[in-house]
């Protein structure tokens, strides 16, 4: 299953993008209640958004972002029918991306 869900809607020239990502976002500061040891940090570090091959926005995240993270941003210059691509990379080198049609 893709780890990203994306919703993008254009209105009056502004496209609002909302994305929900399936990711543990383990900060590295939580202790395992059974072993008492720190659970290693595992979180999305970088997220990028592209429209027509051009980068529109990029985010740097840390362990302080909630589990199954959410992000919303807005940009101009896209039209309904265009597509937006969102990609993420985490601190363990995992990555994923997805595209969605702007409605």
């Amino acid at each position: 299953m893709a780890t990203l869900k994306i919703r993008a809607k254009e209105q009056d020239g502004v496209t609002t993008v909302k994305t929900l990502i399936s990711h543990p976002m383990e900060s590295g500061q939580r202790k395992d209640s059974k072993t008492g040891k720190l659970i290693p940090g595992h979180y999305v570090t970088e997220l990028t958004a592209e429209h027509n091959g051009k980068q529109v926005m990029s985010a740097n995240w840390g362990g302080g972002i909630s589990k199954n993270p959410y992000l919303s941003f807005k940009f101009k210059g896209a039209a309904a029918g265009d597509s937006i691509k969102i990609s993420w990379v985490d601190n363990m080198g995992k990555s994923d991306s997805a595209e969605a049609e702007i409605k």
């Binding site: 990028t48 990029s58 740097n60 995240w61 840390g62 909630s66 990555s95």
Partner: protein, 156 residues
């Protein structure tokens, strides 16, 4: 991340240059934009978080920056935060939770196509200030709100 890139990030001038190039879309990131702000995330104080992510630790409160966050967080693990601004030329936004062990929760590089708006959900370890800092025309402007994080009664 190798040592050379680390020094690259630390130097304020280069960081601003990076931000400007990013804004004009001239940097060609296929995935990530330049270097990850490792030092900013590692910073244990607000000053380090701000300067590491936005290149300077000097910011001033402004009515042109709006921060939406709850007065009392329903659950500290998931606190919805929205930052917006009426300013033009906003090319970066950082969201800081002052009472977190690592105050920087996230930082955003916005191209000139972006509206000055970002919404996400952050973790807050305990009651403290959430500070939204917006970078426009090389200067930093902020909005701050105290968010209370409480101990639940239903077994925590």
């Amino acid at each position: 991340m190798n040592l050379i890139r680390r020094k690259f990030v630390k130097t304020t001038a280069f960081l601003s240059l990076g931000a400007t190039l990013a804004g004009s879309g001239l940097l060609i990131p296929q995935r990530a934009l330049g270097a990850y702000a490792t030092d900013a995330f590692a910073a244990r104080d607000v000053e380090g978080a701000v300067s590491g992510s936005l290149g300077s630790s000097s910011y001033s409160a402004s009515d042109a920056v709006t921060l939406k966050a709850p007065d009392i967080a329903e659950n500290g693990a998931v606190v919805p935060v929205t930052v917006s601004s009426t300013m033009g030329n906003v090319d970066a936004i950082s969201i800081i939770a002052a009472s977190n062990p690592g105050p920087l929760t996230s930082t955003y590089q916005l191209s000139s196509a972006c509206e000055p708006f970002v919404s996400t959900r952050i973790k807050m370890a305990k009651t403290g200030d959430v500070i939204a800092i917006v970078k426009a025309n090389g200067k930093l402007y902020s909005a701050t709100k105290e968010v209370k994080v409480t101990i639940g009664g239903c077994g925590g």
